[in-house]
């Protein structure tokens, strides 16, 4: 093997928490990267993958500092450099593609100025030549209007385009190493494909090495040569992509892979058509903004109809902006629908929740995506869970305390947790409390709005198991909103595919991949990365479909 381009030995990075406590977040990590090789750093949140990637640029986020070990990049010893020397390295030897290009582009400057900035900081080439090179890169990255896109401001181009523009920004200085920091995590799946393809093609042309930080094994499988699995700042396993995917040696890696295996969901038996559905929605229309002539300025939902039978689960999938969350809000009455009809167990629900009876409110509960913002940070878990008990059931004192303990037990949390504040809980624990609060109402229907999307795969899988278990015990029905097809497949009986506020297709979840007929459904299904290194290469999508439905 040739001399490695990057050589990291026993890297240790420490952080100071808000309370002044010092913790070590990277605990002696070592690895090499050969020239031209793409290495993926895989791990869940808190595994230290981004911290390691940034340290390759000699950068530590505020509050963090490199405590020990060495990082060698080419002939430079990054750890031993002064800040000025490191600055000279950034952009020319090693460059960075951020997770959210939308946040990483300066909103007040034109795109071209920012893309070519590296060349002017490091005096690499005259401005005209740099702009020509940028346009070349825009073409290579398959950006639309490569000659004029640079004169726009960041807010004038789409998220997927910005992500590719940030790649152009990183590549303009011909670096030897490019760091990809979860660059497609914030994108929709149909957009993600095009961005991944663009990355692959530019990385394949030059002889650049790359570090690809991600939590998504399927995405990484398409682009990386080698994978390093991290957990809690320690390397768990290191191997070629093929080996990690097919023959994982470490138990944790297997756990990560297992979370990918779709758990077949046994569909609940269909009740007769004459049975009363728990939820029936007819021609629902909702939107935001000033209401004129009984219609809001921005119409989001348009004529959505479906029925959800008792004991069954309905999945709603769609990309951002498809109106799937708005649907949940309209059903919960948070955003009153301006037209259409909602029936809960045969009884009509008024559009505005203020006009619904307390019992109606109790029977349908909504659970939100981010447990961080869905739990009041100033209240203890006991207060959070106790409030609906008092509110709906008038429980007080010992009776309420006993019920809180019961609820915590139902979501598999220790009773001792009830004195904690939400900030003292892990992400998975918070989401369980979030669920327990909905259960406190003794609901019949739970609207789950992307409740596993913000969680790490292993934790999300556990939450799905919990949902199934609760369903068996409590005879619940779920309306499950998600952008993630495999999650929906794992728990739902039926699926609605939404696009731009309309339902384009409704079909049983089990036969989804095989039988979807609407072109958008097909596009969506085919865009989901598979745990197969050849998936992206072999993927053929109809360009007309893409032009029609994907917002790139």
């Amino acid at each position: 093997m040739t001399e490695p381009l990057v050589c990291v030995r026993d890297l240790r990075i420490g952080a100071t928490t808000d309370s002044g406590r010092k913790v070590e977040i990277i605990k002696g990590v070592s690895f090499d990267i050969a020239p031209g090789e793409i290495v993926a750093l895989i791990g869940e949140s808190g595994s230290g993958k981004t911290t390691i990637a940034l340290s390759l640029m000699g950068h530590a986020r505020p509050g963090c500092a490199i405590h020990g070990g060495t990082i060698r990049l080419g002939r430079h010893d990054v750890t031993g450099m002064t800040e000025r020397q490191r600055a000279a390295l950034r952009g020319t030897e090693v460059s960075y593609i951020p997770q959210s290009a939308a946040a990483a582009f300066n909103p007040s400057k034109r795109i071209m100025d920012q893309v070519v900035e590296i060349t002017s900081i490091h005096n690499l080439m005259p401005r005209a030549k740099a702009e020509a090179k940028a346009r070349e890169l825009f073409r290579a990255l398959a950006l639309p209007d490569p000659d004029t896109i640079g004169s726009r401001y960041p807010h004038q181009v789409s998220g997927g385009q910005l992500q590719r523009l940030s790649a152009a920004m990183a590549l303009i200085g011909d670096p030897q190493l490019v760091i990809f920091d979860e660059p497609t995590t914030a994108l929709d799946v149909t957009t993600q494909i095009e961005v991944l393809r663009a990355f692959r093609s530019v990385m394949g042309q030059g002889n650049m090495a790359g570090v690809y930080v991600s939590h998504d094994l399927a995405v990484v499988a398409q682009i990386a040569d080698r994978i390093i699995v991290l957990r809690g700042g320690v390397v768990q396993e290191e191997g070629t992509t093929e080996q990690i995917l097919t023959a994982p040696a470490h138990a944790y890696t297997r756990q990560l892979l297992d979370a990918f295996e779709p758990v077949p969901h046994v569909a609940a038996p269909k009740t007769g058509a004459q049975a009363r559905p728990i939820l029936q929605v007819d021609n629902l229309c909702a939107g935001y903004g000033a209401i004129r002539n009984g219609e809001p300025a921005a119409k989001i939902l348009q004529n959505v109809s479906f029925r959800l039978e008792r004991g069954r689960n309905l999945g709603v999938i769609g990309e951002s902006g498809s109106g799937k969350s708005t649907l949940a809000r309209a059903i919960a009455g948070i955003l009153p629908a301006y037209r259409g009809n909602i029936q809960l167990d045969g009884a009509e629900l008024k559009p505005d929740l203020a006009q619904r009876s307390k019992d109606q409110l109790r029977r349908a509960q909504i659970v939100f995506q981010l447990a961080d913002t869905a739990l009041n940070p100033a209240q203890s878990i006991e207060t959070i869970l106790g409030r609906p008990l008092t509110f709906y059931h008038g429980m007080k004192g010992a009776k309420r305390a006993a019920r809180v303990a019961q609820l915590l037990d139902m979501v598999h949390l220790p009773n001792a947790l009830r004195h904690r504040l939400p900030s003292e809980l892990s992400g998975g624990q918070k989401q369980r409390v979030n669920l327990a609060r909905a259960l406190a109402a003794d609901p019949e229907l739970i609207l789950c709005d992307e409740i596993t999307s913000a969680l790490d795969t292993v934790v999300a899988a556990a939450i799905l198991d919990l949902l199934k278990e609760l369903q068996r015990e409590l005879n619940l029905s779920y309306m499950f909103i998600s952008h993630d097809l495999s999650t929906v497949e794992a728990i739902c009986d039926d699926v609605l595919v939404m696009l731009k506020g309309r339902v384009v297709e409704a079909l049983p979840a089990a036969r989804m991949s095989a039988e979807a007929v609407h072109p958008y459904s097909r596009l969506l299904i085919s865009s989901i990365p598979k745990l197969d290194t050849g998936w992206l290469k072999g993927l053929e999508q109809d360009p007309e479909l893409i032009a029609l439905f994907a917002r790139r």
């Binding site: 808000d18 309370s19 002044g20 409110l361 909504i366 869905a374 509110f391 504040l421």
Partner: protein, 282 residues
């Protein structure tokens, strides 16, 4: 249950103050104690002329010298703490309580109530604070209730604006939506869901407003429109003894130091609050 009452105190959330903040806090507490126990610790009756000389120097008998009538400055500064701290505290409490309540209502309710109130109070902000105080006090005459109400009125719009912005932020959070979807009433939303989450920044803001009020109050007194003789707050003490300045009398120095020590330490304390308390909105 021994641990059933675990409030989110600073210590529990892992906040700690650095030494600058601690010094600030110590000075604030010092003046608070002085203001409370003042009447029992003054070495001389505050109104009485105890020295035959006026503008007396610092001495064993008079630790801070004497004023233009030969009264003991230490006693007057101690009693002045009552007026300055007391009036400012009352005013700031009124201003913040009113402002925060209105701000939360406007922030959560939105609509015409919010627009109207915000516009009105914004315009009110344009009137220079000290000038407004002067005009009101000159017109109605100075008394302690008038001073408190005027100062509170001056600083209410700012507190309103601050609390409203915070409340609007918190109001968009999912836990408030969950409570609303549960069917909770307006009062519960404001008092239980929103208020505890803006309390930190609101208290920090209250501290800064307290400083401004002390300054405006001292300014009013300095212009002769604040606390009226024979009583005197620190600003009035400076005014009374300003002629002593050229004589090098300590009479004007100590009240000035008292004002500065209080306001600077409040600022020091607020500035060094852990950022998580100051901007919980983030």
């Amino acid at each position: 249950m021994s641990m059933s009452l675990r409030l989110p105190t600073p210590a529990r959330l892992g906040y700690s103050f650095n030494w600058v903040g601690r010094i600030g806090l110590a000075v604030i507490l010092f003046w608070a104690v002085i203001a409370i126990i003042g009447p029992w610790i003054t070495p001389y009756p505050t109104g009485e002329m105890v020295d035959f000389d006026y503008f007396g120097p610092v001495s064993q008998k008079f630790w801070m010298g004497t004023d233009y009538l030969g009264r003991d400055i230490l006693s007057r500064v101690i009693m002045g703490a009552r007026y300055t701290v007391g009036i400012a505290l009352a005013a700031v409490t009124l201003a913040c309580a009113g402002g925060v309540l209105l701000g939360m209502i406007a922030g959560v309710m939105g609509g015409w109530f919010d627009t109207l109130l915000s516009r009105l109070l914004d315009a009110f902000n344009g009137i220079p604070s000290l000038l407004f105080g002067l005009v009101v006090v000159a017109a109605v005459g100075s008394s302690i209730p008038v001073l408190i109400l005027t100062l509170a009125a001056i600083y209410l719009p700012g507190a309103y604006r601050f609390a409203r912005a915070l409340a609007v932020n918190v109001n968009t959070m999912d836990f408030v939506t969950v409570a609303r979807a549960r069917g909770e009433g307006f009062a519960h939303l404001i008092l239980r869901e929103i208020f505890p989450n803006i309390l930190g920044p609101v208290l920090a803001d209250l501290g800064l407003r307290f400083v401004f009020i002390v300054l405006v109050l001292s300014g009013l007194s300095f212009l002769g429109l604040g606390v009226q003789p024979p009583n005197a707050d620190w600003g009035a003490l400076v005014r009374e003894n300003i002629e002593g300045l050229s004589l090098g009398a300590p009479a004007v120095v100590f009240p000035s130091i008292a004002i500065a020590s209080l306001t600077i330490s409040v600022n020091m304390f607020i500035d060094n609050l852990p950022t998580r308390i100051r901007d919980r909105s983030a």
